[in-house]
């Protein structure tokens, strides 16, 4: 099963077209220029830049990477475990038993560390219910990444994924990072959606896929970190985009951890 996943060839050019990378480069280039416009303290002896410039520089240094905020939205039917996944990632705890539907949109900031730099994720946890759609749509546009969840014990939630992807195509940016997650993978015999079905769907839409469990913690960190990594590389744009590919990365990482969760091999 694991080897099968690894040997699958997936065309991976969707995430970064050269054009996008260039535009990102331009943006970061502009920022560099602005910085070089600040008066140089080495100009002559005893020169002190104005206080506000010093302050600007200082804050710039401190908040360097945190300034770039990456917006991530959790989507999926009601009850698939979006909030649980987020809470597990945020606090390490699993809230068992007390299901309480999200009201509207919940908003959490989380700073994660990617290659020794801090990346700030702004995570929007949405209510799955239909009646909240109009509010959540308004926030799709700003999103850099979308985590789309279904519940592996609930076939309907999986069947609705196509509709969700349709909505995403309609409301989100074209270059948004999408990750499909089959949650509640700890379910054992209650499973209603096989892992292969999830993989097939992901391949069809060319999105990254993995199974997660907010309860056991399986792949929870990985899902968010992969997003953070991808977004960071896109943002900085300095690296060769071919060096990091979120799908390859995820495949690599899941293969590593595969042995630990025999349950999820159906």
């Amino acid at each position: 099963m694991a080897t099968a996943a690894a040997s699958e060839e997936i065309d991976d050019d969707v995430f970064e077209t050269q054009e996008e990378v260039n535009s990102k480069l331009k943006v970061s280039g502009k920022a560099v220029q602005e910085k070089s416009n600040t008066p140089s303290p080495t100009g002559y002896r005893g020169y002190q830049p104005p206080a506000e410039v010093i302050r600007l520089c200082q804050t710039d240094v401190i908040e360097d990477n945190e300034q770039i905020v990456h917006k991530t939205i959790l989507l999926g039917d009601s009850g698939v475990g979006k909030t649980s996944l987020l809470v597990k990632f945020d606090t390490g705890k699993f809230q068992s038993g007390n299901f309480s539907a999200t009201v509207g949109i919940g908003f959490t900031n989380k700073v994660v560390s990617v290659d020794q730099t801090r990346v700030k994720l702004q995570i929007w946890d949405t209510a799955g219910q239909e009646r909240f759609r109009s509010v959540t749509h308004a926030y799709y546009r700003d999103a850099h990444a979308l985590l789309l969840l279904y519940d592996v014990t609930n076939k309907t939630s999986f069947d609705n994924i196509r509709a969700w992807l349709g909505e995403i195509r309609e409301y989100a940016q074209d270059d948004v990072v999408i990750m499909l997650l089959g949650n509640k993978a700890d379910c054992g015999s209650n499973r209603a959606v096989r892992r292969e079905e999830g993989e097939r769907l992901a391949r069809e839409y060319n999105v990254t896929f993995m199974e997660t469990s907010a309860k056991s913690g399986q792949n929870v960190e990985l899902a968010f970190l992969a997003i953070a990594r991808e977004l960071k590389y896109r943002q900085t744009g300095q690296r060769d985009p071919n060096r990091f590919n979120v799908q390859d990365y995820v495949r690599e990482q899941t293969n590593k951890t595969q042995a630990q969760c025999p349950n999820c091999n159906t």
Partner: protein
């Protein structure tokens, strides 16, 4: 009855809340949203006019509806289900199940059919409207509010008016999640629509609301209780909120609450919040554990304020170390970030001025019981100031710490005496072997007092005078007397 108090305790020149009679039945609904957005057109939905008649009394209870339950009889046989003290059902005019307090609606489809038939039968034969059926100790109350029918079957001895008021709350909760406009539209388009699709997740709110109406005197009184705070602290909090929100356009209400009590309410000039709407907000906050996880942004319709559209609500707890919940309500759909910043500013200000600490202190200190306040023959009381729609109650003391439900039943009974539509009383003094209950309705306030069983009328009257003075002396602390605006 003599009292040295000139103005009733808790009265204020201006009220943050719309003052309301606790029994009024929500027929009148405002439309404020459009006004705020400066649009001219104000739509007023012409409400149906129901003729008030009790159609039939003492209808014989038909066994267990045994003639119509051949296949789907799971619940009728289920003693746990049949022994429930109060059942509540919501269905569409077409008889489609929407909500059942206990049990699965689908399995009860036949029962919803019976209810729909009763309503439409009375409607078609006499062009009348069924109100209630009384059978032994069971009361069936029907509330037809197009496009929904709400029914309760109660053995709780609550009055018909009190039950209707609870059904109205349920209706308002549904309106609050969907808006009345949308609700009407849905059924205009498809009469047999299954509304449960739109209400997923909201059943929980209705469940909680019903428990709430049974446990909290605030619903009975149509009033809210305030968290006791020195008036200077409350004013600082209000001004921290006004300071941070002053410049924000179209912010309608800012509400700070903790532990089911109001800390402060700042409002847009000219608009007031109705206690019934505030109760829905309290219910939302109490029922949604998930609000604690993060900052939240949600649409919310306040049916008494404007049932036609949504307000958008930024909901968050002040901080890890202060579990008071702040709600900022606006008519703008996309100002989350603006309000998020305002919230940060408010929290910082409150922290600097030690208000967070003051709130925590008040939350952790037990409120006084009658005994600690020096009233030895008094067990418990509810005092409602009518002009501000606020009430105060002391902490529970024995024997009621174990009999909270019975205490509330006493109050409900007394409340019914004062508000009975056919013969309302001004003063009730009722003696039993367990306690003495006094209920007093004046122009400015309502007072319900429970005494030790051996007290006589003179003693009771003296104590009531003292009690009113005691409350008057603490009104600054116990009530929200200013009505701050942005």
């Amino acid at each position: 009855m003599s009292s040295t108090v000139e103005v009733e305790p808790g009265a204020a020149p201006e009220s943050v809340l719309v003052t309301a009679d606790s029994c009024e039945n929500f027929e009148h609904m405002n439309s404020s949203l459009e006004e705020i957005k400066n649009l001219i057109e104000i739509k007023q939905a012409a409400e149906e006019s129901t003729i008030e008649t009790v159609v039939s009394e003492n209808l014989e209870e038909t066994g267990n509806f045994s003639e119509c339950d051949d296949d789907e009889d799971d619940y009728v046989q289920n003693s746990e289900w049949t022994s429930r003290k109060k059942q509540v059902f919501v269905l569409s005019m077409a008889g489609k199940p929407i909500y059942s307090r206990y049990g699965n609606e689908d399995k009860l489809a036949w029962l919803f059919g019976v209810m729909q038939t009763l309503v439409s039968f009375v409607q078609s034969t006499n062009d009348d409207c069924i109100k209630s059926i009384h059978a032994g100790d069971t009361t069936f109350v029907f509330l037809v509010k197009k496009p929904l029918i709400l029914v309760t079957v109660s053995k709780t001895h609550e009055s018909e008016n009190q039950l209707i008021s609870q059904l109205n709350y349920v209706f308002n909760q549904i309106t609050s999640t969907l808006t009345l406009t949308r609700l009407n539209k849905i059924y205009e388009q498809r009469q047999n629509y299954d509304l449960r699709r739109q209400l997923t997740g909201a059943e929980r709110l209705i469940d909680h609301l019903l428990d709430f109406t049974e446990k909290e005197p605030s619903f009975l009184l149509g009033a809210v209780q305030c968290l006791p705070l020195a008036s200077s602290v409350r004013n600082t909090i209000s001004s921290a909120i006004t300071g941070a929100c002053n410049k924000i356009k179209n912010l309608v209400f800012a509400i700070l609450l903790a532990n089911n009590k109001l800390i402060t309410l700042v409002r847009m000039k000219k608009y007031c919040l109705h206690p019934a709407d505030l109760h829905l907000i309290f219910n939302l906050v109490q029922a949604s554990e998930s609000l604690k996880n993060s900052e939240n942004w949600t649409p919310l319709c306040l049916p008494r304020f404007d049932s036609s559209g949504f307000l958008y609500c930024h909901v968050s707890y002040l901080s890890e170390d202060c579990q008071a919940c702040l709600l900022l309500l606006t008519v703008e759909r996309d100002v989350f970030y603006v309000l998020s910043q305002a919230k940060q500013a408010i929290v910082e200000k409150l922290r600097r001025t030690n208000c967070l600490e003051a709130i925590n202190n008040s939350l952790t200190t037990n409120e006084e019981t009658c005994l600690t306040a020096g009233f030895t023959e008094l067990r418990h009381y509810l005092y409602k100031c009518k002009s501000t729609a606020q009430f105060y109650q002391p902490s529970l003391a024995p024997p009621y710490t174990l009999e909270k439900e019975r205490l509330l039943e006493l109050y409900k009974r007394a409340h019914q005496h004062l508000h009975c539509s056919s013969r309302p009383l001004k003063l009730v003094f009722e003696k039993s072997s367990k306690e003495v209950v006094l209920a007093w309705d004046t122009k400015g306030f309502e007072l319900y007092v429970v005494f030790e069983p051996l007290i006589d009328t003179t003693g009771a009257i003296n104590l009531v005078g003292k009690l009113l003075n005691w409350i008057k002396n603490r009104e600054d602390k116990l009530f929200h007397l200013n009505a701050p605006t942005f």
